[in-house]
């Protein structure tokens, strides 16, 4: 009896699985047709193909500005809304929390686990992907006929360039120009304020246990430098490496900034083994910075840059 | 089903309220079951200090379980197991280990311990005082294997391991030693050495209760035997009483033959095909010419009769051991009327009469006459060609005239009997000539079975 019941259960599960796959395949085909049908008339009206190079060095070409955009990272969503392409957004990730209206978007999964079927079901003509763990995704999406732009800038200026590119692809160059102007202004403002001050050694904590930091070759490192700091993490290599507590204490940063994603708290940081002797702790220069303005390569980095400068050189801000 | 024979299960000394002298071990109406499966039923017996008792019984009869019950490893479902008058469930393990030591049947140790360390573990129940614990090296020396002390236990041979484990158990200094088939992994010399050793320990006051499979060792060594059959005590008492052939047959389902030889009693066995009688064969033999055939035919499931034989004749002795119905005449006497009449009856009842290469003289010529009568009565008579040569009175000629068939020797005869289905009366299509043709093939056997040799079925150890 049990065997028979098992058999039926298995059969039922298989059936459900087959039906699901079939439906997904059908909907994918169907939407492909829709795209083709809707794009051909408007293509005639377009000014011509748009070509930009994304952060992975790939040339991305659209015959006409994107009308249906899917974002695979909160930062990308922010960029799209900032450049004025919010009305073209058809889906985002479950972590999209800015701007407010982005939270209402349909979700394609999250940053680490985007669902390819789900992405395809929105029939986007532009997918804004991220680097890193999404690197493998590009091929899959392109195989399904989608155009992918990878957002993975390594510097503050790189973020500016990316925003310009997204503006071009979405046909909202003007909106993008306003954003980049603000970012450039913020940069100039910070540079003016801290330009002559000696660099303050700064440690930026990404995670506390084990200690992780932002290494060289990251836009965070670039921003610390712009804000008049000397990023201690840059000595540990690129990316987001872990970092020896002993070396940290020996290097004795003047400023200690923890990304809010580390879930650390100022009191807790001060109380850590050996941290009591740090100049940053003694001087009260331990800060928590909202990770959405420092760790997302998007328009709000301008805000993050100003905040960094305020933490690293509070005297400069007062001077301003 | 094994029915306990009329040997009395040990007369209970019944020390009902006699706490002053409690037997070393007493089992009272003990039932035991693993989960729902009953293993032992209504077991009652006692062991007194100094007893030397063997437990025998077929596989699965509950022997190991019984030993575990005495050691308090299991608790009875019903009844009581008392050690020194106290129920085993009331003992703490250490206290139990001081009263009862057990040599297990299976023992292995995957870890690389020295024999000394393994033996020393036996002293655990004696606490931490080295004086109370005894010296493992001395114990090994006492067993004659002092040289094992520093070797790895895992590298010992089966026999050495057995001795090491015995040494471990003896380190407990318990008054009772239980052994679960200690001899099963040992060669014959080690077996004897082990039992001699146990006997010696027993002489020194140790009470021994030992499970073993070899009934002859059981007969030879033990003062008393406990026969377990299907979870019940089939018999308990002196070995030669307890191991009567009918008990062995009932318990083990094999034929057993009790022999007395040079002052020793020993058992031999042959498989018995119960309930399957293949027919009845009467043998005309004597002087050892029929002994081998008797065994072969009995083992093959035939009902065998023989006669007339003189008492104390080799064939008569074999027939008695095998429990055959025989027409017997007094020693060294010619066949008399009474025996002859009985012989005729046996022959008439047979499906086949076989005449071995028996020396025929005036004393036993009547047996061939009887065979001729049988022929006349329609009972086939097959004879060994050899009888012609050993016929000193010309009696065989009459047989041939009567239609007896001749075969080239015992082998050929046996083969023919086996190849024929009895009772059916259908004579084999084997003419004497054909049998002679077949004979060389039989004679190819370089060691033709001499009639006096023990047949292959004799599984003595």
């Amino acid at each position: 009896m049990t065997t028979i019941r098992f058999g039926r259960l298995t059969a039922a599960l298989l059936l459900v699985a087959v039906l699901t796959l079939g439906a997904a395949a059908l909907s994918a085909c169907g939407s492909g047709d829709d795209t083709a049908a809707s794009s051909s008339p408007s293509a005639a009206a377009a000014a011509g193909p748009i070509t930009v190079t994304d952060d992975s060095g790939v040339e991305v070409t659209l015959e006409q500005p994107a009308e249906a955009i899917v974002s695979l990272a909160p930062a990308n969503t922010e960029i799209a809304y900032a450049v004025g392409a919010g009305d073209k957004m058809v889906a985002g990730t479950s972590y999209d929390d800015y701007p407010e209206e982005a939270t209402a978007l349909p979700k394609i999964g999250d940053f680490a686990n985007p669902n390819v079927e789900k992405i395809a079901s929105f029939a986007p003509d532009l997918v804004l992907a991220a680097g890193g763990i999404q690197a493998d995704l590009r091929g899959k999406l392109e195989d399904l006929g989608m155009t992918v732009y990878v957002v993975d800038p390594k510097t503050y200026d790189g973020v500016i360039a990316t925003i310009e590119n997204v503006g071009k692809l979405a046909g909202t160059e003007d909106g993008a120009a306003a954003v980049t102007a603000e970012m450039t202004a913020a940069r100039q403002e910070v540079q003016d304020a801290v330009g002559d001050l000696p660099a303050a050694t700064t440690f930026l904590e990404i995670y506390g246990k084990p200690l992780m930091t932002a290494g060289a070759d990251t836009f965070i490192d670039d921003m610390i430098t712009i804000a008049g700091g000397e990023n201690i993490g840059a000595t540990a290599g690129s990316g987001f490496p872990n970092f020896s507590t002993e070396v940290l204490v020996q290097t004795d940063p003047q400023v200690y900034i923890a990304d809010s994603g580390s879930m650390s708290e100022p009191g807790e940081i001060d109380a850590r083994a050996g941290f009591g002797e740090l100049t940053a702790v003694k001087d009260g220069k331990v800060y928590i910075i909202d990770d959405s303005i420092i760790a997302r390569p998007g328009p709000r980095l301008a805000e993050g840059l100003r905040a960094l400068a305020g933490y690293i050189h509070p005297e400069a801000e007062t001077a301003q | 089903m094994a029915t306990p024979p009329d040997h009395p299960a040990v007369p209970e000394p019944s020390p009902e309220r006699e706490t002053r002298h409690a037997p070393l071990v007493a089992l009272k109406n003990v039932d035991f079951a693993y989960d729902e499966r009953p293993v032992l039923r209504r077991i009652s017996f006692t062991l007194e200090a100094g007893d030397f008792v063997g437990i025998v019984g077929p596989n699965g009869s509950g022997k190991s379980t019984l030993v575990d019950l005495i050691d308090g490893i299991h608790q009875p479902v019903a009844g009581e197991v008392l050690v020194k008058g106290l129920a085993t469930r009331r003992y703490k393990r250490k206290a139990m280990a001081r009263e009862v030591a057990l040599v297990p049947q299976h023992f292995d140790l995957d870890f690389d311990l020295a024999v000394r360390e393994v033996v020393e573990m036996g002293a655990y129940c004696r606490g931490k005082d080295p004086a109370a614990c005894g010296d493992p090296e001395l114990m090994l020396a006492r067993l004659g294997v002092a040289e094992l002390a520093s070797r790895r236990f895992s590298e010992l041979s089966g026999g050495e391991k057995q001795l090491a484990v015995l040494a471990q158990a003896l380190m407990q200094q318990a008054p009772l030693l239980l052994l679960d088939e200690p001899a099963s992994a040992l060669d014959v010399s080690h077996q004897l050495r082990l039992f001699d050793l146990l006997k010696e320990l027993n002489a020194g006051g140790l009470t021994v209760l030992c499970i073993l499979h070899d009934l002859n060792l059981a007969l030879h060594y033990f003062d008393k035997l406990l026969v377990l059959s299907d979870g019940e005590v089939a018999a308990f008492g002196p070995p030669d009483e307890v191991l009567a052939p009918e008990v062995v047959e009932a318990v083990y389902g094999v034929r057993a033959y009790l022999h007395r030889h040079a002052g020793r009693t020993y058992l031999t066995f042959s498989p018995r095909l119960r309930g399957e009688r293949r027919g009845r064969v009467h043998l005309v033999c004597g002087g050892g010419t029929g002994a081998g055939m008797m065994r072969e035919l009995v083992d093959a499931g035939y009902e065998v009769t023989a006669g007339v034989l003189n008492a104390l004749d080799t064939d008569e002795e074999t027939g008695s051991e095998l429990g055959l119905h025989m027409a017997v005449e007094a020693p060294f006497s010619p066949v008399g009327e009474e025996a002859h009449a009985e012989n005729l009856q046996l022959m008439r009842a047979a499906d086949l009469v076989v005449v071995t290469a028996v020396p025929v003289s005036h004393g036993n010529a009547r047996n061939l006459e009887a065979a001729r009568d049988a022929l006349a009565a329609g009972i086939p008579v097959w004879a060994d060609e050899g009888v012609r040569a050993s016929d000193f009175v010309g009696a065989v000629a009459g047989l041939a005239e009567g239609g007896a068939q001749f075969f080239a020797g015992e082998e050929a005869l046996l083969a023919a009997v086996r190849g024929r289905s009895l009772p059916g009366g259908r004579a084999p299509v084997v003419s004497p000539a054909a049998a002679r043709v077949a004979a060389p093939a039989a004679a190819d056997d370089p060691t033709p079975t001499a009639s006096g040799d023990p047949p292959p079925g004799e599984a003595a150890t």
Partner: protein, 332 residues
Amino acid sequence: MSKLARTGTWPGILLVSGMLAVCLVLALALGPAPLSVGRIWQLLFAGPVPGDLDNAIFWQIRMPRVLTAALVGAALAVSGVILQDLFLNPLTDPYVTGVSSGAALGATIGIVLHLSNLSWITVLAIVGGLGTLAIVWMAARRRGRIDVFVLLLAGVTIAYLASAVVTVLMIKANQDMTAIIYWLMGSFSGRGWPDVRIALVTIPFMVLPLFFTREMDIMLQGEKRALELGVEVERTKRMLLVTAGVLTALAVSVSGIIGFVGLVVPHIVRLLVGPGHRGLLPVSLLAGASMMVVADLLSRTVIAPNEIPVGVVTTFVGAPLFVYLLRRGRRA
């Protein structure tokens, strides 16, 4: 006629104690922050003094970290010895009882609930580990006996179940994934005196089995033989299981899951001093501490200022050593 070619109990203990002392000295003397031997000497006698960075590095970072590593290594090794011999299974390590997975689940819940105070995560890990032990224990209880085979199976099953829940939590609480992964990987980075205090709780549990070495020796012959020889097997088994469980839970809650030490150290030590627990337990304790201290030393110095996860180091150090000793042991 091969005799046992191994060191005795006391020489073994002395040898490994010496080894541990050397490891501790090296681990305190060496680190990614270069401190001269003279400076170390000075710091050692100065004691913890505020207002001095080197002093803070030595007394507040390096010292508690080394001590935590030593205690965790010792606890895992002792737990490994107990469980391998209780299950009579050489492939057993402290993590098979499901205790570590339960601890991981507890810690994951703490991380997901954003109990940012790390000591809360530690507490939840201990609760998770001991809770799992209780569940596995109940599963293996039958008529007042603990069936170690069922216990092993239940432990492995619960371990898988807990891991599955951890995975689900990781997916649901994506932003905490890194935190969870790093916790699972195991590390001594940033361990301070509060961690040492938790790790110190392991000491009585490491000492306790030392009083039961004879029972443990006898139980190597199987539970039945141990009963026959007079050991109260159930009681001993219970005590040992709880001891191993508590040791594992405490170790894991402090350091996360660090593999190989609990599996390999007992084997290595058996090859050196034999399977007798009078030598095996104390020597494993000391050797486990030594191995973990060295592994942590390598983890923090080899690619400083980065760190290699200590579990990777224990494997790299332990595996070749183990293979070498196995081969040598076979030839002997």
